[in-house]
Amino acid sequence: MSTASTHWSDRFQLGTEPIPVDSVTQPEYFEREREKLFRRVWLNIGREEDLPKTGSYFVKDIDVLRASLLVVRGSDGVVRSFHNVCRHRGNRVAQACSGSAKGFACDFHGWAYDLEGKLVHVPDEDQFANFRKAEHGLVPVATEVWRGFIFVNVDPERKESLTEFLGETGRDLEDYPFDSMQRMVTYVLDMKVNWKVFLDAFSEGYHVPFVHKASIPKGFRPSDLAALAHLPSLGLYKRHRWFSAPGNPVLEATPSEAEIVKHDLRYTIGNAVPAERQPKGTNRDRVPFWSFDGTIVFPNLFIGAGAAWYWTYNYWPLAVDRTICEARFYAEKPRTAADFVGREYSKLLYRDAIREDMARLEEVQQMLGSGALKAMLLSDQEVLIRHNYRVVEDYVRS
């Protein structure tokens, strides 16, 4: 047996055992995740800028919770969430996907609620016995905001605030310029993949030289000569985790990328960003060849934070072998007309690269579902994946 590196797994005491496949293929396991994990935790559901003013709202149907949530900015500016269910006989209250409203009227019998969820009007109210409107507001759902990300928790017996749930990760990405960024695009993928297999794909850099050999052949490694890149720094918390990704300091770009580098190097993907161009809140260990930080807010949010852009993935499981992924790309608001072209360049390279990532996932799920393997093998470079299965298992067994 070779002398293997177990640096990270030793440091975080996660062992080196194979990971049983059952947790990504067995419907029973998924049902336990639904009840013991997804119904208990804080989930990222949107960003504050989705609700720009009083009365702005959106509706989010969350299959894994079997719920529809109404998220709205109230007259006091506070973001609140409610089950999108009329207190009368259970009809959906808000029918539209999003919009701006003064209140919400159920289209079944006209019950009306204000922006804070209070029941304000019931037609023919005196036909209801022992009825007090004040007791029948929309069912509230705990809602808190971190770094502009809106989180909800549907557990009526929850024991933790969002701050407690986030723990150490709550201090991460402090001062990162989320406010000067602007969403450019959302891609929605409905994939025949377990949500953990999805997340695994973005929790290691081992795949990069293979999966991205066409799109980014020299990126995300500390030199042209390094065939394989190791994550220079990472951290595993009680539930959440992060890593810094390496970047190539040799800007041996394609001809078009060479012009982008001259305009603003930060628009490239996979290249090392010089220390003075790295935004606040990133590269905490000051690794020498840094390209972006990945932050995984367990269980359903991935943030990839670069120098002039960031992207997010939200994972919404539908079944043990099916997941909706929302991939969003954000970039600095353009100052000049050239920035429109520069940030488009980043976005399109990102998009084409994740199309390569996605291609593997459904095949992996199908093969794992064949039952040929009982377990998956993980290297020390895949310790974030190991951590995810540990955290999920802890919830499922709780």
Binding site: L189, P217, S256, E259, E326, T336, A338, V341, G342, M358
Partner: protein
């Protein structure tokens, strides 16, 4: 369309405007994927020597309220970003060994909200 198109120092690229200076990612990507390599390389070869000059020119124009000529040049530059991936990285119009583009249709702009109709369209 008016007679005025690109800023005057870029009028040599005028022939590409009607086909390539498209206003959305979806249209530009569709144009890229439905074009032959010959067509892509023709566009790439024409724009690449001017790309630095295009960025320099646009860098002097504020993002807010840019004139229609510069807006077209931006659209052309964004189409070039599409085509450069095909020519420089993939050697073919679309991404090889990748999930179908139709399964990743862009919802463009600042709203990240996903209409139910979109969800129906992308269902696996």
């Amino acid at each position: 369309m008016s007679d005025i198109s690109l800023p005057k120092q870029f009028r040599d690229l005028e022939n590409f405007v009607s086909e390539w200076a498209l206003p959305t990612e979806a249209e530009r990507n569709q144009k890229r994927r439905s074009s032959s390599m010959e067509v892509l390389v023709d566009f790439y070869d024409a724009v690449l020597p001017r790309f630095g000059e295009i960025l320099s020119h646009l860098n002097g124009v504020p993002a807010e309220g840019m004139p229609a000529e510069e807006r077209r040049l931006v659209d052309l530059g964004m189409a070039f970003a599409e085509v450069s991936n095909a020519v420089e990285r993939f050697g073919q119009p679309d991404v090889p060994d990748a999930i179908e583009a139709s399964r990743m249709a862009p919802i463009e702009g600042t709203s990240g909200l996903v209409p139910r109709a979109v969800l129906r369209n992308v269902r696996a």
